[in-house]
């Protein structure tokens, strides 16, 4: 019995952390965020690919590394820790996981493995369609609008979900497709919207189980990203409190500040094991993997929201300014919370996944 990271996993994470420490320091994050160096995102992606991150979830048979969801979650955690703008979620995590299970998608998988396919994610439909949004498929063509496309920039394909939880691959050059970039609070992520007008799309799967697992994977990755970001905020708060003096003593010696930090640590520490557990269950395709992914993202979203606030408070006025850049982490955690299901939505999905309630019994919009 072992519920811990293997040596290889520790090494993988160390390598990613080191790369990001070198290549994605705060100044670079700022340059990406203010639009002055948009190329950083893809530069980081290529550097991560040099470490093999692009191949993680591609099966060995398709020239990948054949590693696990847990490995992917560790990478996501590192990205969150560094608030790195690298578009890994689509091309490095969700697309390879899905394509590896789609019969006849060998070509796409090979393109992924060769680094020739970069995939944005238009999956919002899976978490409920807002007014003016919604994607409908008919005769192999898509119509409608997807509002919150992740890894939006410079992609060579979009993975699109329709209202029936079917997944498609769409060429950015396809007829009737238009898109625009959308600004969000999180400038470390490229986000946009896509509009479809009789846009031809390649159906990847109609298998609800595969769709559910793909979504679970994306949610685990977002949870892991928040885990990383929250860990960094906590460490930063503790370090700041040790350095910052008021009333002739480090504020870290005030019981109020200590307890704020202790509460953050106590809430956050179990989240690490929770991400591992969720990833492991998905790797093992356990029956409760989907429910566990929902809970993991919901729980970490709530812990992260409180932690981001508290860590900012420990930093005092400095935490509110742009000077320390702490807000990049605050906003990253906020972005992950809202993306692909808010906590209340996810908890309801977890209840349905366990059969606690009937999916159709309640006329509840999102809860």
């Amino acid at each position: 019995m072992e519920f811990a990271l293997s040596e290889e996993q520790v090494l993988l994470k160390d390598n990613v952390d080191r790369l990001l420490a070198e290549q994605a320091p705060l100044e670079r994050i700022r340059s990406y965020a203010d639009g002055s160096e948009p190329g950083i995102a893809h530069m980081l992606w290529h550097q991560l690919c040099d470490l093999g991150i692009g191949l993680l979830l591609i099966p060995e048979a398709a020239d990948g590394l054949g590693l696990t969801v847990l490995d992917a979650a560790l990478v996501a955690e590192s990205l969150g820790s560094a608030v790195a703008p690298a578009p890994v979620l689509g091309s490095g995590i969700v697309a390879p996981y899905l394509l590896a299970e789609v019969p006849d998608a060998g070509d796409a998988l090979a393109a992924l493995a060769a680094g020739e396919l970069r995939v944005g994610l238009a999956l919002s439909e899976l978490a409920g369609a807002r007014e003016d949004s919604g994607v409908v498929a008919h005769n192999g063509k898509l119509n409608g609008r997807s509002l919150h496309v992740l890894d939006f920039d410079e992609q060579s394909a979009y993975l699109v979900a329709d209202g029936k939880r079917q997944l498609y691959l769409v060429d950015p050059q396809a007829a009737g497709l238009s898109g625009r970039s959308l600004t969000t609070i999180d400038r470390t992520r490229a986000t946009g919207e896509l509009s479809f007008s009789d846009t031809p799309a390649r159906l990847l799967t109609t298998d609800p189980d595969l769709c559910a697992r793909t979504l679970a994977l994306a949610r685990i990755a977002l949870a892991a990203d928040s885990l990383g970001a929250a860990s960094t905020m906590l460490s930063a708060a503790v370090e700041y409190a040790k350095q910052r003096e008021q009333f002739n003593r480090p504020i870290a010696s005030f019981q109020a500040v200590k307890h704020m930090c202790a509460e953050m640590a106590a809430a956050l520490e179990p989240c690490r094991a929770m991400v591992w557990y969720a990833a492991h269950k998905l790797d093992e395709r356990e029956a409760d993997a989907v429910m566990m992914a929902c809970h993991t993202k919901a729980h970490i979203a709530d812990v992260g929201k409180r932690l981001a606030k508290t860590a900012t408070e420990v930093h005092g006025g400095m935490g509110f300014t742009d000077l320390l850049g702490l807000h990049y982490w605050f906003k990253r955690i906020g972005f992950n919370r809202q993306t692909l299901g808010t906590p209340a939505q996810l908890r309801r999905e977890a209840a349905i996944a366990q059969g606690f309630i009937d999916n159709t019994a309640q006329n509840s919009a999102t809860a």
Partner: protein, 404 residues
Amino acid sequence: MDLNYGPEYDAFRAELRSFLDTHGHEAPKGNNNPKAPASLAWQRKLIEHGYTARTIPSAYGGAGREPDILKARIIAEEFARARVAAGLGGQGISMLVPTLLEMGTEEQRVRFIEPTIRGEMIWCQGYSEPGAGSDLAALKTRAELDGDEWVINGQKIWTSTAHIADWMFCLVRTEPEAPKHEGISFLLLEMATPGLEVRPLVDMTGSANFNEVFFTDVRVPKDQIVGRRGEGWRVANSILGNERDSLGNPNATLTRFHALKALMERETVDGQRLIDDPVLLDRLMAVQGKVLAMSANDLRVLSAKVNKTSGGGANDTRLARMIIKLEGTELRHELEGLAIDVLGELGLAYGDNPLLRDGGSWQAQYMYFLGLIIGGGTSQIQKNIISERGLGMPKEPKFPTARS
């Protein structure tokens, strides 16, 4: 228990409404240049009618009326209702003018009050420093007397209006050998003075709501001091309490609550209104409960001010007043955060995003109110104050090596 203001006030309100009907169109719109001729003219008209600078003696350019808390509130309510620009605020008018009336020399009053209330002289406040936040009295910006001038060196931060201000009132250390609280003086200086540099301080909202101000051998005439040397802490504290009261204002929170409710009626997921989502509705109603509690608390505090109650027991409102900043800012932050959750992924929209709801105010205010939780005395400082002054609990034992 009588929530009616009475006939005198009803008449005052009617007169004010008629004024607003007649003249409201003259008011400046939006965030115009505060010194635009129309703005200054409007301010002068409001003073004339006693709708701003109401209690400032006419000798100093004010309206010279008796203090009347209810009339002040009616003025605030009616200008808000009519969506007409009310009289100017800002730290010069809300903080410096009362300070000068209390502690200034006659010469200072004559020189500064009239242009300030007329909007011709804009002030900023130089109190906080990078190393002196919660522990404000630890401030290090120093002023040394050189002949007839103070020479100031150091740095201030959180000076909200420094970029548009003509003058600054600030706290500086003039007696380095004195105990921490007794070595501070309160100076007035022109922003145009050589050696003074203002840098905008961008915050997490992406805007520069504040500034940093750097002093390098900034020379200020000796008589631009309010109170005596070393009295600055007392001068500043004579009005500091006023600032806190305005943070976490329940009326503004009520307005935001209504906006949130409207948002939930408007927005849908899968075709269903979000207000019909029981879980979100429960959170909305929990927020409304808190808003109502704070509104009631506000009425109680207002009543005690109006009636100058200082009774003990249930009519003692000191604690009720002391908790407003802590509870009010936390509640507002919670409310804004709920709106973000309500909006789901759309709640992330910001800046130039065309999908923005309500001008992006939910995210901006969510962050801004986190700033207010921290600013004006952090929540931790508020809890110290409540426990010590409100509940009579002892101060923490002093750290043995502390200077003071």
